[in-house]
Amino acid sequence: MAGMKTASGDYIDSSWELRVFVGEEDPEAQSVTLRVTGESHIGGVLLKIVEQINRKQDWSDHAIWWEQKKQWLLQTHWTLDKYGILADARLFFGPQHRPVILRLPNRRVVRLQASFSKPLFQAVAAICRLLSIRHPEELSLLRAPEKKEKKKKEKELEEEVYDLTKVVLAGGVAPALFRGMPAHFSDSAQTEACYHMLSRPQPPPDPHLLQRLPRPSSLSDKTQLHSRWLDSSRCLMQQGVMAGDVLWLRFKYYSFFDLDPKTDPVRLTQLYEQARWDLLLEEIDCTEEEMMVFAALQYHINKLSQSGELGEPASGDLGLDDLDTALNNLEVKLEGSAPTDVLDSLTTIPELKDHLRIFRPRKLTLKGYRQHWVVFKDTTLSYYKSQDDAPGDPIQQLNLKGCEVVPDVNISGQKFCIKLLVPSPEGMSEIYLRCQDEQQYAQWMAGCRLASKGRTMADSSYASEVQAILAFLSLQRAGGGGSGNHPQGPDASAEGLNPYGLVAPRFQRKFKAKQLTPRILEAHQNVAQLSLTEAQLRFIQAWQSLPDFGISYMMVRFKGSRKDEILGIANNRLIRIDLAVGDVVKTWRFSNMRQWNVNWDIRQVAIEFDEHINVAFSCVSASCRIVHEYIGGYIFLSTRERARGEELDEDLFLQLTGGHEAF
């Protein structure tokens, strides 16, 4: 027993005094002094500490942190000698789980308890389980960027912080669902709100804010982000993270396994958000046409999530409905009228007839819009000189199937035109229809769009299409309080939405809002029928289709080269990129990779590929541990198999990504 004394009070055993601070790393903290010997077990020391503190509390999460060695003393059966602890060790008795502030991919903030003692890989897995994000191996944590001192103290918007520190996660792999959300979220209104924040897309950001946020202006800027990744094989405490620090949670590896809209609402949403911010902050470049599609999808997603239409659209068997109505029609007709009508009734299709002004651009004519009587039936548009001529032959008849429909709208100018590019064997013929007001425009536009896809106005989507067009028009009306005779769209919330919030700032500079809106509207018509999850998935897919998708940039210097270059790491390859021009110099695929080595002393990574191709480089922008972890991580992710489900071979991961760096 440590602490045996003689009568005079001298210690007669080899015991010595050990001072342990209670609490987190705080020199002012309360401390206890114990009498121990080198033979004392950690478990015994823990017990003594608790006895000495003599306070009733749940100490089960507490453990001893050895500051100098940056090490947790977690092996309770080890002795102090085995750990090599002497009297001069600065030990802290504190909780292993501490709160951190986590900035999610959707830029919202949650406070939650993270493990400071387990390797980051496990800590992230626990966080993801709490947030109900599957496949945590694809995510990791970054340090928050250091805030630059602002000249003028701009008043920072008070952000809402969702608190999840109190939430206790039940055991078991998959948290049970309760009221449509994982059970641990359904305890209180706050946590429920948090789940909605996690699983529903956020509204578009304020365009002004968007312009103020930092954007990478060059490839070397893009390398900055990747220098902040935390090390997966070490714990947060070892990496100098303190309780209450801000960390970013991001998808690190761009290899999204088994993305399932049904089981992954949070994962899908967060992935969508990360993709969206990537595009808005120009972390990844796209073309103008692609940006319009992204903007249209964002608009559509926002509209659906605002209006609460979360479920899939009812996709009843149209053919069946069709037949039933036809049957009813037939029966009605049979009871009453002449048999000749019977057959007509089967093909009854709603039609539009109205006076519209039509313009056909032709060479060598200066004619403008002319009033015509226009009949739109089935997928065919016919126009006549006047209403009286209608039973006769039309001036022209156009089948709109396969045509291009382009809106040409200027609300303030009260111009509602539809440009049609109608294919015919001879080529495309261009024709403009000018409508009088929004209502008329929406009806004809919806008809044209359906017809271009080969559907008629009898299609069930016609009404919703009309509504969607009206809703979009309302976007363009400044202030919204314009014409009073306009019927309320389904989503008043969308009114006044600024298209600038949907596109990257460089497009804000390039286009005026009123130029942007019609282009987004045009792209929107192809996605208007998607459900919320479909639209999110489509967004992610389009993001994945970008040539630069999923490349993490590091600044490196290749062996034998005198200048810095960029190494791009993607899920299947390494890319050597010229720093100045941005051209791809060389690509190596992981599938041809034999082995890779890291020399921690000279911070060099050496890779051997098939056919004795050797590549070596030292890392400039990020530590070579990050590069090493990226490569190992992608190799690990490629070993995942569907059959194994969500089970993770953590040892393999740490083996592939860990290293023997001297700390």
Binding site: C286, D324, Q397, S545
Partner: protein
């Protein structure tokens, strides 16, 4: 009230009777007659055409009710085989809920050409009426199904006429042709459309609807459908490295990319086609673009992206933000250009063409691009197809492989069973809109397969440039008033034979029943027709 009921009954009975008439005549058709029929039709049509030249054009485009009277009677009969099945089954059911038609055709023979007496027991009357309404509806639906007789030019310069209905995909037509030609069913077989006037040609993608594509052709077109082997069709799946790993980082890894082991290929394919989104090969380079309306070509730097083809504007770099969109793929098809060097003074003959499928004549909306060599051309064409069709292309390939595998297995087993593998995957049963439709008669009778094996197809030349005849207009005719042929038995087609009960009806799939099993129907018809040819 009672009287009007009678009227309706009468009307339906007449209608059904008429349909049966047509049915029978159709069933009497033998396969080789199809070509003869074509010839007759074509003759009739060209005769009629002279009288109605202007109107013809319109009617073709709009599929309106306009049709020359002579042709309508013939072809409405020829084109309503499906209705035929429905008709004969249902009537046997009306006559007292018999069990499914027996296998022996003789029992079903005496279906007389005049309409059967309507059932008039009081208690059954209402039921019968409802049945008939539904039946009539089915038939009307059926009658609306557009069908084309397509002349397919075979690899050996012969031609075959095929009936293709509007629900059939290129895959179904290929399967049909496999059965007829007993070829090796390799994945390289494809339907190929050529436009002699524009000097362009392309594959039908296996998932494309054949009738839809053909309806874009004009009446007097010289376009042809070919059945031939093209290894470019699925080249990307055989050697993905040639498309995905080529040219990256200059020419140095050219040797490595040429040979690649099967496992790596598989891995590459999985990576490219089985992820959340399909990867489009990274493709960029200088191509020549034909300038609008001129025979001059301008060299520009083009890049392929999933969203379209882009070019680098003058003085700009090839970063995403500077690119200008050249074309997007939603509304265009990709074609190979043939002999553009001659026709358009192209720098090389390796051209590809993008145009809206409906454009059939020279137009400024047709885009011509010219590559330096054949390899580049194939890369671009394949790349564009991947960007346009995505995963569908891979699915098509896998179906084609499955089909080829099936065929070789059958040959190996020695039991040439060409009847069953026709549509392996489309058969997922369709929902039945109303319970009155005859139930499934499950198995394929052995006799049919036997007959199938021995059938031979004679090919007769069609005398006219028309490759296909639009049956829709004739179908319209049937809907309004099923006209009796003027002189039954007058031609070889109209020799009246008793109808045959449908043997194979895995899918009673009346056409309205949803998309699922519909494609099967036409091949059923074809088989029934073929079988007739060998009945004693």
């Amino acid at each position: 009230m009672g009287e009007s009921n009678e009227d309706i009954d009468q009307m339906f009975s007449t209608l059904l009777g008429e349909m049966d008439l047509l049915t029978q005549s159709l069933n009497a058709l033998e396969d080789q007659d199809l070509d003869a029929l074509m010839a007759d039709l074509v003759a009739d049509i060209s005769e009629a055409e002279q009288r109605t030249i202007q109107a013809q054009k319109e009617s073709f485009q709009n599929q309106s009710h306009f049709a020359p009277p002579e042709t309508s009677a013939h072809s409405s009969a020829a084109c309503h085989g499906d209705a035929a099945h429905a008709a004969s089954i249902t009537i046997s059911q009306c006559e007292g809920d018999l069990p499914p038609p027996p296998a022996d055709p003789v029992l079903d023979l005496p279906l007389p050409p005049p309409p059967p007496e309507p059932l008039s027991q009081e208690e059954e009357e209402a039921l019968a009426k409802a049945d008939k309404i539904k039946l009539a509806l089915e038939k009307l639906k059926e009658a609306k199904v557009k069908k084309l007789v397509v002349k397919v030019h075979m690899f050996d310069n012969s031609t075959k006429s095929l009936m293709v209905d509007e629900r059939q995909l290129a895959r179904d037509v290929l399967d049909n042709l496999f059965e007829k030609t007993h070829c090796d069913c390799s994945v390289d077989w494809c339907l190929y459309e050529t436009y002699p006037e524009l000097q362009i040609e392309r594959f039908f993608e296996d998932h494309e609807n054949v009738v839809e594509v053909l309806s874009d052709w004009t009446r007097d077109t010289e376009n042809k459908v070919l059945f031939l082997k093209k290894e470019e069709k699925y080249a990307v799946f055989k050697n993905p490295q040639n498309f995905y790993l080529d040219n990256k980082g200059k020419k140095e890894n050219k040797e490595t990319s040429e040979k690649m082991n099967a496992k790596n290929k598989e891995y590459l394919l999985e990576e490219s086609f089985c992820g959340t989104s399909v990867l489009v090969p990274e493709l960029e380079g200088a191509l020549y673009l034909k300038e609008d309306g001129k025979k001059s070509w301008k060299r520009r730097y083009f890049l392929l992206r999933a969203s379209g083809i882009y070019y680098v504007p003058k003085g700009k770099t090839k970063t995403s933000r500077d690119l200008a969109c050249f074309i997007q793929f939603e509304n265009v098809n990709i074609y190979y250009g043939i002999q553009c060097k001659m026709k358009y003074k192209a720098p090389t003959d390796y051209c590809f063409v993008l145009k809206h499928p409906q454009i059939q004549k020279e137009s400024q909306y047709i885009r011509h691009l010219c590559c330096d060599d054949a390899h580049t051309l194939h890369q671009w064409v394949m790349g564009i197809r991947i960007a346009k069709y995505g995963k569908t292309l891979y699915d098509n390939y896998q179906r084609a492989v499955a089909r080829a595998g099936l065929a070789s297995r059958w040959t190996n087993l020695g039991t040439v069973n060409t009847a069953t593998p026709a549509q392996p995957s489309t058969g997922t049963s369709s929902s039945q809109p109303n319970g009155q439709i005859p139930q499934t008669i499950p198995s394929v009778s052995a006799g049919l397969q036997e007959a199938q094996r021995h059938e031979t197809i004679k090919v007769s030349k069609v005398r006219s440039p028309h490759k296909h005849i639009l049956a829709e207009e004739m179908a319209q005719q049937l809907r309004c008033l099923p006209a009796k042929p003027k002189d039954p038995g007058g031609t070889s087609i109209w020799n009246w034979r008793p109808p045959v009960p449908p043997k194979r009806q895995e899918n009673p799939g009346l056409p309205s029943a949803g998309a699922g099993g519909e494609q099967d129907f036409m091949s059923d018809l074809m088989k029934a027709l073929q079988k007739r040819g060998h009945m004693p």
